[in-house]
Subunit: 82 residues, 2 copies
């Protein structure tokens, strides 16, 4: 049976990978009068709506996450289903 | 009393604001053999570590979210505390 499901894929840089955007934001905050922000790490997420049967959907989300949404060399992803 | 807290700020485009990145990803997925992804919306998030006292921290996070992390014209943000 085909259903429509929502899922969110969160993409983060792997631990140890430098995050220039986060570093820049952290420095900007300090200059703007917010020195208390000790660390900023940036990431992205994708809200997906997907058609299919339940078992297919999980596999497809993992497929597209590792193929297109995240770069597995430097990024890791997690999936949260609605 | 000063404490260190973690929080994540999620930034999304407001409803109705066109998301070219999401549209492009959705089309790319269809061409890659995944036509079942009906919609893709992209967003970003920032993982923060912040020093301060509890009441200050909330105010500061809201301040920097609307001043630097999100563009309130086209984006909205939500805060999740660890």
């Amino acid at each position: 049976m085909s259903i429509t499901k929502k899922a969110t894929v969160f993409v983060r840089l792997k631990d140890g990978v430098l995050d220039p955007q986060g570093v820049t934001i952290q420095k900007a905050l300090a200059q703007m009068g917010y020195p208390d922000f000790l660390s900023v790490r940036s990431g992205k997420f994708f809200e997906l709506e997907i058609d299919g049967n339940a078992s297919d959907i999980d596999r497809k989300i993992n497929d597209v996450s590792s193929k297109l949404l995240a770069n597995p060399i430097v990024e890791k992803f997690t999936v949260e289903k609605a």
